[in-house]
């Protein structure tokens, strides 16, 4: 039996995670993070989600606490998110939240409070390797979330449990229904938790000055205009407002001149990708591995050399700031962020 602090978002996965930990005989405490106190209080930290988590904890008979990390969340997740868009990047705030909040502040607080493990409802597994515990893809390929946890290395994983990673999503829901948990049929949250219905552009335009600029083609010819670079991401096709003969995609965003470049699909392809903040959580692999650059994207074969990814065959361009995760089979070995 171990003392486990399980982070309960008020969703079905973390509800079932708590139940599975209890089944395994652990001494379990539920915590819900209040991350966002701003006006867009609509997502994973809304009062009704806290209430769901609290009720599930009560049904399971475990103590439940709410941790107010809204100051830290603002500094570690929201501010960098806004800054990234302002500089033409496409950030992944959920990854930053996992890194700095769930497996940063919460893990530290759990250790302080003498817990042996933290747990979440992420669909990923922890496997033992020669180099210590490693993150691996969840049992349900359609729901695998190892990508957003790519930064977890042996230090964090040694005190982490991911109980629902062994189940498929439908098994999780079945389990929740069997236990009559009120979150059993709750719909999944898909959006960035701190952005409400007004959407990303409204959120950003309240925080950064939007700079209009030209839309140019691959030859530098002006083909349109835009209200702000934060409306665009590399590979975007919709909402360009550019009427030309064939399909055009965003191929480049230059923050300095507020210029958005569009081009045909072929202009999106690249055979190399420069990364920053590369972190290997496993011994670096020299041989070809697979590289994933979208949350549910198909991984592409590639080799990683220093901070450069070399694809076996050309791949669509990826926006700066996006996460690239390295996989050796099912084992996540690390990753990095796309550099400019």
């Amino acid at each position: 039996m171990a003392r486990v602090m399980v982070m309960m978002s008020g969703g079905v996965d973390s509800s079932v995670a708590a139940a599975l930990l209890l089944d395994a005989g652990h001494d379990v405490t539920g915590v819900t993070l209040k991350l966002w106190g701003g006006e867009s209080d609509s997502g994973c930290c809304s009062v009704s989600d806290v209430e769901d988590a609290r009720r599930v904890a009560a049904q399971l008979g475990i103590p439940h606490y709410v941790f107010n990390f809204s100051d830290d969340f603002d500094a570690n997740v929201v501010a960098p998110y806004v800054d990234a868009y302002a500089s033409g990047e496409t950030p992944n705030p959920c990854v930053e939240c996992n890194r700095t909040m769930k497996f940063g502040h919460v893990l530290e607080r759990a250790r302080r409070l003498d817990y042996d493990f933290v747990a979440t409802g992420h669909h990923a597994r922890i496997v033992e390797t020669a180099a210590g515990p490693a993150l691996a893809r969840g049992a349900d390929p359609a729901k695998d979330q190892s990508y957003v946890l790519y930064m977890l290395g042996p230090d964090e994983l040694a005190c982490t449990l991911l109980p629902v990673g062994e189940l498929t999503k439908s098994e999780v829901r079945d389990r929740a229904r069997d236990l009559r948990l009120r979150t059993a049929d709750k719909r999944e949250s898909m959006d960035v938790c701190f952005i409400k219905r007004g959407g990303r552009e409204a959120f950003l335009s309240a925080r950064i000055e939007r700079r209009s600029g030209p839309i140019v083609d691959q030859h530098g010819e002006v083909v349109g205009a835009h209200d702000g670079i934060d409306s665009f991401t590399i590979g975007q096709r919709r909402g360009l407002g550019v009427a030309v003969g064939e399909r055009r995609y965003v191929t480049d965003i230059a923050a300095g001149t507020a210029t958005v470049t569009v081009g045909p699909p072929v202009a999106l392809l690249q055979d190399r990708l420069r990364l920053r903040d590369v972190r290997w959580t496993q011994p670096p692999r020299r041989r070809p591995i697979s590289v994933q650059f979208r949350a549910h994207g198909t991984p592409a074969p590639a080799t990683v050399d220093g901070d450069e990814v070399v694809f076996a065959s050309p791949q669509p361009r990826v926006a700066p700031g996006q996460v690239v995760a390295f996989y050796d089979g099912d084992v996540c070995c690390g990753g990095g962020l796309v550099a400019e």
């Binding site: 009062v47 806290v50 606490y65 809204s70 607080r109 250790r111 409070l113």
Partner: protein, 386 residues
């Protein structure tokens, strides 16, 4: 050593046995609606009015000046919105509200709502001792002021506010203004009848002095016009429609009676316990400081800061050892926000987030203090060590 050490009486007290005994017949035996015309209704009405008379006698007002509500927050809201709306209806120029930054959220929230309706709200700060800044208040109150609201005892620090001086000041500077005081933390510690003689609107809440949750009262002195929040059947002199919570009101009155009768004895006993707790912490815990001036603090509250300890973490660690305390004011989600009271007293945010309230009440014993002294210093030291 007790299994659980309840040191959160300022949040809610256990019900006094006498209050439970008083309410049970009105839950178990008497079905009547006090507004009806038959025997069962008469029984309920008699109990309701006897309770009102009893409360009025203890408050130093007449029975018809007592308006029972569904909570202390409702009493505050009725006072603030009711008086502000009535003032503006009487004279469109009376659109100014003056309150303090250390008020309970029921008061601050009501004022915010009025601000959105076009009232001008001034919130004066407090000294580091926790006392509302009288000079700033005097500067803010003028002939446009329709309402002034300052609490009698702060719910976090336990510091008593100079409401009698504020009453003088309002009379001098703002003849058109009505003064309200949230006295919800007062009854256990203070004979507040003298305050009622000076202040025309006074809010109370049953569960802060051994009564039930879900019953509050607003004292509305004669001639003070209020616009009701709930319209309907004319209950409570037309100021609060809705069938009265007879059982709860009977228990409220019983609890207030016992609290009044035992106040001197209980306050003296609890002050000794609180002081022992404070001294024990001060002796055993470095980086410990008390918040709120001891010169004006009620007997049951020890609000303190533990340097370099997150209150949120400390409260979890204490709860796991059975010690129940509080920090700041819990928001609806249960998360701990930095206390607006401490911030209003000029405390830096970081210190505010390291501050905890231990509050004793009539049910507290020496065993509770001994247990807290055995547990809290050790937990604080451990959290600091990481």
């Amino acid at each position: 050593m007790p299994d659980s050490v309840y040191l959160d009486h300022a949040a809610s007290t256990p019900m006094r046995p006498e209050a439970i005994a008083a309410m049970v017949p009105f839950l178990a035996e008497h079905p009547g609606n006090p507004s009806g015309a038959h025997g069962a209704s008469r029984a309920a009405k008699t109990a309701l009015e006897e309770a009102r008379e009893s409360v009025a006698a203890l408050c130093g007002c007449t029975p018809h000046e007592i308006v029972f509500t569904g909570s202390g927050s409702e009493a505050d809201n009725l006072a603030i919105k009711g008086a502000a709306w009535a003032a503006r209806a009487r004279d469109g120029g009376l659109d100014r509200i003056v309150t303090s930054g250390v008020e309970h959220k029921a008061v601050l929230g009501a004022c915010e709502r009025l601000e959105r309706e076009g009232f001008r709200v001034t919130r004066v700060g407090a000294s580091t001792a926790g006392i509302v800044d009288l000079e700033a208040l005097a500067g803010a109150v003028d002939e446009h002021t329709g309402l002034v609201s300052v609490m009698l005892v702060n719910n976090e620090t336990g510091v008593r506010q100079p409401v009698d001086e504020i009453a003088c000041l309002v009379r001098e500077r703002a003849p058109g203004a009505v003064l309200h005081t949230d006295a919800i933390q007062a009854p256990q510690w203070i004979d507040f009848a003298p305050v009622v003689s000076e202040v025309p609107l006074v809010a109370l809440s049953g569960h802060k002095f051994g009564g039930p949750k879900g019953v509050g009262a607003l004292i509305v002195r004669d001639g003070i016009p209020l616009v009701p929040l709930v319209d309907g059947g004319g209950h409570e002199r037309g100021l609060r429609a809705g069938t009265q919570n007879v059982a709860g009101i009977v228990a409220f009155a019983a609890a207030l009676r016992i609290t009044h009768d035992r106040r001197a004895e209980e306050t003296a006993r609890i002050a000794v316990l609180r002081d022992a707790l404070e001294r024990g912490f001060a002796d055993q815990i470095p980086g410990f400081a008390v918040n709120g001036t001891p010169d004006a603090r009620v007997a049951g509250i020890l609000h303190c800061t533990f340097d370099d300890v997150e209150a949120e973490t400390l409260l979890v660690a204490l709860d796991q050892q059975g010690v129940m305390a509080a920090s700041g004011s819990a928001c609806s989600s249960g998360a701990v926000d930095p206390s607006h009271v401490l911030l209003s007293m000029g405390m830096p945010r970081r210190r505010a987030l390291s501050s905890v309230r231990f509050s004793l009440g009539y049910a507290s014993t020496g065993n509770d203090v001994d247990a807290a002294l055995a547990i809290v210093p050790e937990v604080v030291a451990k959290l600091r060590a990481g």
